[in-house]
Symmetry: C2
Subunit: 150 residues, 2 copies
């Protein structure tokens, strides 16, 4: 990580020329920030990941999905989520003209490829969760309200 060791000597202004060491992430279109936003817009919402994770295990019906998702997702949110995923070609929706109607959802190949990404996210999260928790409580302590004799 670059030798830049925050000069502790009263340096009035450190050499700004130290920056830019390793271009870990190289973007062809900086304005677009590689398009990471595309994925994040897809996964960033509150429910998409749950649906993808559940669907990663196999075909599911609407109600099955709703009951499989931890927090109680409303039909509205589930509908919106699967529609978005369907629109982007991540999920395939199959309607059986029966009575009562039956609809099945499953991941497409594209959706399955996303699964690996989600796995990576989960691995990172699990691996560094303790570190984050520690940093967080440390920060909270340091920035505790100086209101009273706290």
């Amino acid at each position: 990580m670059s030798a830049g060791h925050t000069a502790v000597t009263t340096t009035p202004a450190p050499d700004a020329t130290v920056a830019a060491a390793e271009p870990v992430i190289v973007c062809e279109t900086p304005q677009d920030e590689c398009g990471v936003r595309d994925v994040l817009d897809r996964l960033g919402d509150k429910w998409s990941v749950y649906v993808v994770v559940e669907l990663a295990s196999g075909v599911r019906r609407f109600k099955e999905l709703q009951r499989a998702i931890p927090a109680n997702i409303s039909q509205r949110m589930l509908t919106l989520t699967v529609r978005r995923l369907e629109r982007d070609g991540l999920v395939k929706r199959t309607v059986y003209p029966t009575v009562p109607p039956q609809v099945e959802y499953e991941l497409t190949d594209l959706g399955h490829s996303l699964t690996h990404l989600v796995k990576a996210l989960a691995d990172w999260s699990i691996a560094h969760r303790p570190a984050i928790a520690t940093a967080r409580s440390a920060w909270d302590t340091a920035h505790a309200e100086p209101t009273a004799g706290n």
Copy 2:
């Protein structure tokens, strides 16, 4: 989850028994969905990724960050974003007691490890962007408003 497979007997539809094939994602705590949400809550907001990407190249000052980010981020948003990242131990903030004040931001080791994840997201996004664009326009066409002779 449990094996609860809602009685399929009355269903005249397809073989629902096909489901559940490969457990691509295995969670220890299903209620928490592996904790992917942790990462997403961090990266899901509109600006965090930009900051991480920029900081991946080296140390940056507040103003440098603000100018490096494509869309015009407000001071407020940049402040909130770096604060959050700092709180989670992803970013290190160094203040130089000079006049005028100077503050530098840099990724911590934890932050750098996140960089790889962002890289993976970017790669996936770039690789599948065409497929998504295609699926999306196809969906839009199929679901076009039947209002008029469009």
